[in-house]
């Protein structure tokens, strides 16, 4: 198999094989209904506390919720392969590792983008959010890049899954951290200094800010820097996650822990 084929078909096949997300009974409740309610929850808390505009919470939560598919899907793919004891087989194929993993990451990114875009549109419609028509294209770009960067974090999470037994505990905690630190519901400049520093290095922080500015009428030129930062963060996490998994693979080969017992 050429690298390109490994990238596309290997990725999609493993995604479908390991992931019940494609069942409408999971997809619709967990990825379409839940994020809309998360948006509504924080919109109303915002109204109750009389802070930011509805738009603020719609954008923040729509993008933050992409963490669910990005983190869980990515982690499940790797952990699932371990559970089914296919990881060893995949790692010993002659296919080059990078396209292999990137191929697995791509459907995850697409999934994350779709979820964020859906809840952005639906949540926005419910609160009557006004967005200039020309902004939708750049917003889609910023959203996609955010999904990409969180998927990178998902790869790190997947690597940690080799040592942590209950991967869903870790994934949920990361979801919570993303809720608090990325300015999804609390403007970053209102957080304590140390939290602001952490925010800078998290996925979503810059993407959310970019989308907010675009929705307010900003131009793509204004937010290139933010989108670029978001992409960079994705690359760093992705590379780190990939390195971690390779390292775990080596450790696993030495200690025969590649497959879960």
């Amino acid at each position: 198999m050429t690298s390109a084929r490994v990238f596309f078909f290997g990725g999609i096949a493993s995604y479908r094989a390991l992931f019940g997300w494609l069942s409408p009974w999971v997809f619709i409740p967990s990825l379409l209904v839940a994020p809309v309610f998360q948006i509504l929850l924080f919109v109303y808390i915002g109204r109750s506390a009389q802070l930011e505009s509805d738009e603020f919470y719609v954008i923040g939560n729509a993008i933050q919720y992409a963490a669910i598919p990005c983190l869980f899907a990515m982690t499940h793919l790797i952990a699932g392969e371990r559970f089914q004891q296919t990881l060893g087989y995949i790692l010993i194929t002659p296919a080059r590792r990078l396209p292999l993993f990137l191929g697995r990451a791509l459907p995850v990114v697409v999934n994350g983008f779709f979820v964020a875009a859906f809840s952005l549109v639906v949540g926005g419609a419910i609160v009557g959010m006004q967005v200039p028509a020309s902004a939708w294209g750049p917003i889609a770009l910023a959203t996609a890049v955010s999904a990409f960067s969180c998927t990178g974090l998902g790869l790190v999470n997947a690597g940690l899954g080799f040592v942590v037994r209950e991967t869903s505990v870790l994934s949920n905690i990361i979801f919570g951290l993303l809720l608090v630190f990325t300015g999804a519901n609390v403007p970053v400049d209102q957080l304590p200094r140390w939290m602001q520093i952490v925010s800078e290095g998290m996925p979503f922080t810059h993407g959310i800010e970019a989308v907010r500015r675009l929705a307010d009428g900003g131009a793509l030129a204004d937010v290139w820097g933010l989108i670029g930062l978001e992409a960079l963060i994705g690359v760093v996490y992705g590379a780190g996650g990939y390195a971690l998994i390779r390292a775990m693979e080596v450790v696993g080969r030495r200690h025969a822990t590649l497959e879960r017992a």
């Binding site: 009974w25 309610f37 919570g176």
Partner: protein, 256 residues
Amino acid sequence: MTTARLLWVGWLMQMKMLARSSFNTLLGIVYPLFFATVAFFMFRAGDDPKPLLYASLGAAVMGIWGATSTAAGGSLAQQRWHGTLELLVAAPAHFALILLPTTIAMATIGIYSMASTLLWGWLVFGIDVQIGDPLAFLIAVPATVISIGALGFLLAIAFVRFRQAWALGNMLEYPVWLVSGFLVPLTLFPGWVLPISWALAPTWGIDAIRGAALGGSPWEDIAMALALGAGYVAIGVLLVQRTLRAARTKGTLALS
């Protein structure tokens, strides 16, 4: 007497199992703290301490529903996967009496997160929650737990036919947090939402708990919560008969 024993033993066994799972304990305690932290930041903006107290108790009870909704939704599917569901159905005891204590146990575990949220609010945000009426509080909390457990029971049996029932239970986590008024006064909602809020026991439960802590009579709220809980159980019992009959006809009890 047998009924009481059955409920007690069922509750005890389920508590043992839940307490031995890091997913339920660690995550159950930590996860609501993230939402509470966001809420505290949001309500802290002004000078008035009352919104923070209001939010603190609300966030604390969110953990009880969080511990119940997904777990209850998926509990029968999980039992089916473990091969224990058919054993429970084959037993002579009434299935409702077997299922109810399990969902009440799930809600009981939520008390851990309630405690951790109040503690977190106090340690990190300086929210000092004084319990105005301790007796009423000590009654309001179990009443809320039991009525939320009853709602979980209804969910569990309503979703039993779905293999991915956990996802349906999970889907209801946010909506109940929203419309039960844990962090949002009901006055902010459009009129058509209110009957839904009133039909949910958690709405009355949080009112009772806030009343007991902050002043205000909780007794009517406690009564409403328990009455609704009894209603959920009654509906659930009717559903149990129908659902088990359907499962035995279609042969879906044991399929994993």
